[in-house]
Amino acid sequence: MKADKDIKQDVDAELKWNPEIDGTDIATKVTDGAVTLCGFARDYHEKHQAELSVKRVAGVGAVANDLAIRPHGPGKVSDPQIAREALKALKLELPVTWEQIRIMVREGRVVLEGTVNWRYVRTRAEEAIRRVPGIVDIRNSIHVRPAIIDGDIKSGVEAAFQRSAVVDTDHISVDVFGTEVTLTGKVRSWVERDEAHQAAWSAPGVTSVIDALTVRH
């Protein structure tokens, strides 16, 4: 297994490599393959990009993103302005479903609420507002309540895994309790983990996916 100091070296190189990140105030610590990011990012987008960069590195098993946001801009963005910009971004991204979602802003911290029929709507809502200036944190409390219920969620998810070029079905098991899916087992990278999630969430009727997967190289 890759040594922690090698993982740290690679994580630091990957952060420096990413042109969207100014890594000056970002520090990393690695213990048993778990990476902690601490220090400061210029905005929420950079904080998120740092996490994505770390997840690309071989050997990283878990990530704790403790970056605080310290804006470099001229002045602070007011909460009403953040709310306005966030709503604009949401409307552009989800022209049909934006009305099901509520945006609350307090001191730069955004909370998304509401109920939608599909998980992709929930995900895209969060993605849409990540780049709004002034945001310090996003909590996505949108509920997914599917309109269509499919009888056999388990075999649907397993079939999706079988089709996938990336997911290795030998190491992942799917358990379904009502409309809740639990994924257990090992994946080789975060890309595989994301694909497994995507497949699990695509099953009509799924209301939550519990991730008990471990990233092991």
Binding site: A160, A199, H217
Partner: protein
């Protein structure tokens, strides 16, 4: 190895499984792992999503996306309205570089022109436009003109490949001529291919990446 019939069946299931696509008018044909999509999509976003779904399926080696976009939305945007929405979308996505991009709209077809410093910015511009509902086609003619001087591009990219959890660095060769990088070799999936392409474009000084990678099934 998977037969063409099996691949076709998997693709049809994958398309039906994707809640963002209405696959009613989408037909697929598979010959030796090469997939041709024909028929109709309701907008460009759906056409693009169909292609992304196909690339997730194991055994797919190449994709020809011949879907025609037939908008069904009754009150479609006029060209001036679409152009305004496109500018708003770009401003939100690229707050510091949107002014370097020119947008030309004709009958719902959008052409992006201009110059940006990084490939990832170019990708984000196209992604922002793709999401707009009234778009029939997107052509990305933005050029990448790097500002940072190149270091040792070949060594840097090879090191980035080695760090990466998804890329099998032993099977991918990097060739550099001036600001142009050529990637050759074999990858196991489109996910790996995308990672290699994006990573190569992250090296300072790179203006173009030629992808000669093949997918090994």
């Amino acid at each position: 190895m998977k037969s063409d019939d099996e691949i076709q069946c998997d693709i049809e299931n994958e398309l039906n499984w994707n809640p963002e696509i209405d696959a009613t008018d989408v037909a697929t044909k598979v010959t030796s792992g090469t997939v041709t999509l024909s028929g109709f999509a309701r907008n460009f976003y759906e056409k693009h999503q169909a292609e992304v779904s196909v690339k997730r399926v194991a055994g797919v080696v190449a994709v020809a996306n011949d879907l025609a976009v037939r908008p069904t939305h009754p009150d479609r945007l006029s060209d001036p309205e679409l152009a305004r929405e496109a500018v708003a979308a770009l401003k939100m996505e690229l707050p510091t570089s949107w002014q370097s991009i020119q947008i030309v709209v004709h009958e719902g077809r959008v052409v992006l022109e201009g110059t940006l410093e990084w490939q990832f910015l170019r990708e984000r511009a196209a992604a922002a436009i793709r999401r707009l509902r009234s778009v029939v086609d997107v052509r990305n003619s933005i050029q990448v003109k790097p500002v940072l001087a190149a270091g040792n591009v070949k060594t840097d990219i090879e090191a980035a490949f080695k760090r990466n959890a998804v890329i099998d660095a032993g099977h991918v060769a990097v060739e550099v001529r001036g600001p142009e990088v050529t990637l050759r070799g074999e990858v196991r999936s489109w996910a790996e291919r995308d990672q290699a392409y994006q990573t190569a474009f992250s090296a300072p000084g790179v203006m173009n990446v030629i992808d000669e990678l093949t997918i090994r099934t």
